[in-house]
Amino acid sequence: MNEPYLELVCPAGTPAALRAAVDAGADTVYCGFRDETNARNFPGLNFDRREMKEGIAYAHAKGRKVLIAINTFPKAGNAQPWHRAVDDAHSLGADAIILADIGLLDYAHRTHPGQRLHLSVQAAASNASAIAFYRDRFDVKRVVLPRVLTVDEIAKLTREIGVETEVFAFGGLCVMAEGRCALSSYLTGTSPNSQGACAPASHVRYDEEGGKLLSRLGGITINSFEKNEPAGYPTPCKGRFVADGKTSYLFEDPVSLNTIDILPQLKAAGVKALKIEGRQRGKAYVAEVVGTFRKAIDQLAGGHGGAVGAGALSQHSEGGRQTTGAYKKSWR
């Protein structure tokens, strides 16, 4: 087949989720170690070294790939845990390591030449010059693009940079400043970028008050949901605040990205891989979302695109709503 193949890259927060992703039809699974070296450092989640080894063996036995995300930024004077994570990911047989920090990319490239490296969305590289730097300096083979670009911009960029592009296809949306967002840190003192948890659960509280559900982060009320109103995560960027006497979502609504309806455009733009977000979600989410996208991609490859609609996944969407985000950006 001469047509570009859309690789389905799926999340796994636990070994069970990894198996669920592989069984549901993922081409590739991405996951991380159980520490602050990856951007989903939540309690009870992620892989120890033995689990990672077993997970890679399971995926490889079925002809699938495993990518290890080491995509937080090492702390000043204590890069050792991040270096060890890179060394271990390499020796465990990761098909690629996903990195964001420029120093860590340098370490990985020098220490393990030949190890395939991907540039994490956390690096926030969204223009040809930035991506070319990572490509030329560290031999990065793929870039995960930030969710700020339109499909036309992705097509233009993909033609220019000469490395594979991976885009987010489904899941939570950030406020479009990956790797640079400090909103959560202001309320919790914990950084998503260096400690791996935006709105860490240890700082989250849900309270029922006056028939409403209040979500709080670091003691600050982020949102108030009416009875039976779909709820969202208490991330500060998706909070409802009062400004000029008006209550509204100032930055972003609780809503999930879903690209099922624009897969043909993404494929035509030359995108190599589609990333499903959600390493913090359960294996039921992984199985259903992966299965649905598998079907949609296969139908597209067979010339029958559009048979699977975006509505199929609305129950898994934050706030029960979905968007194509910046891909079909109508604002300036």
Partner: protein, 227 residues
């Protein structure tokens, strides 16, 4: 995942009904038995839960009128039934329908999706609930398989019985769905029964005309056909 794994909506509802009037003293031995079963079948789960120690989490199946306390200590995670007005002193509480909680435990439903749709309520230490959810989700649990394993030689006939009950429940559910649809159609039918009978008569008359024309055409064709 095991072949015997199936949706437990009906059995869970029945269990919920059965649990409602049960006195705590009668439930305690059952709980103890269930815990020994979990410890035997999922030693790794207990190991992972112990990492959360010390922790006290209350589980509230809304449809049973009972509350359960998981008291996680190093090396153990006993579950105990709480008294009606007992002050729990728990760090966190999770509440939802029994069937939903079982589905969640078996990893059949995504906890976040349940939270978005408000089917699940979480109060107290969210980190503890997230850790418990992730720990359970990492384990391959099937309540049905666990119970069947406990039954030993009776597992096969029990599985057959459950399969029959499950099929019956599905058929009943389908029939109820059809009935509801008919009721809905009747309720929303603006024409009334007489108008509907007229419409049927007209349809039959039309069909008779078409049949008669077809018979005439067939007879003509037969006459015209060469011998």
């Amino acid at each position: 995942m095991s072949q015997t794994t199936r949706h437990l909506e009906l059995p869970a509802r029945l269990a919920g009904l059965a649990l409602r009037p049960m006195p705590p003293k009668a439930l305690e031995p059952l709980l103890g038995l269930a815990m020994r079963l979990v410890e035997r079948r999922h030693p790794r789960l207990i190991e992972r839960l112990a990492e959360l120690a010390p922790a006290r989490i209350v589980i509230e199946p809304r449809d049973t009128h009972h509350r359960f306390l998981i008291d996680i200590n190093e090396g153990s995670a006993p579950v105990r039934l709480m008294l009606a007005h007992e002050d729990d002193e728990a760090q966190a509480t999770i509440s939802g329908r029994l069937a939903t909680l079982i589905d969640l435990m078996e990893g059949r439903i995504d906890g976040d999706s349940l939270f978005f749709t408000r089917e699940l309520t979480v109060t107290g230490d969210t980190a503890l609930i997230v850790a418990l959810r992730n720990t359970l989700d990492g384990e391959e649990i099937s309540v049905l398989d666990d119970v069947l394993a406990f039954l030993g030689p009776f597992a096969t006939p029990a599985a057959r019985l459950i399969a029959v009950a499950d099929d019956m429940a599905k058929r009943l559910a389908l029939r109820a769905q059809d009935g509801l649809r008919s009721l809905h159609d009747m309720a929303h039918d603006q024409r009334g029964p007489e108008a509907e009978a007229d419409a049927l008569r007209a349809e039959i008359s039309g069909l008779k005309t078409r049949l008669s024309k077809l018979e005439t055409r067939a007879a003509k064709n037969k006459e015209a056909a060469p011998a």
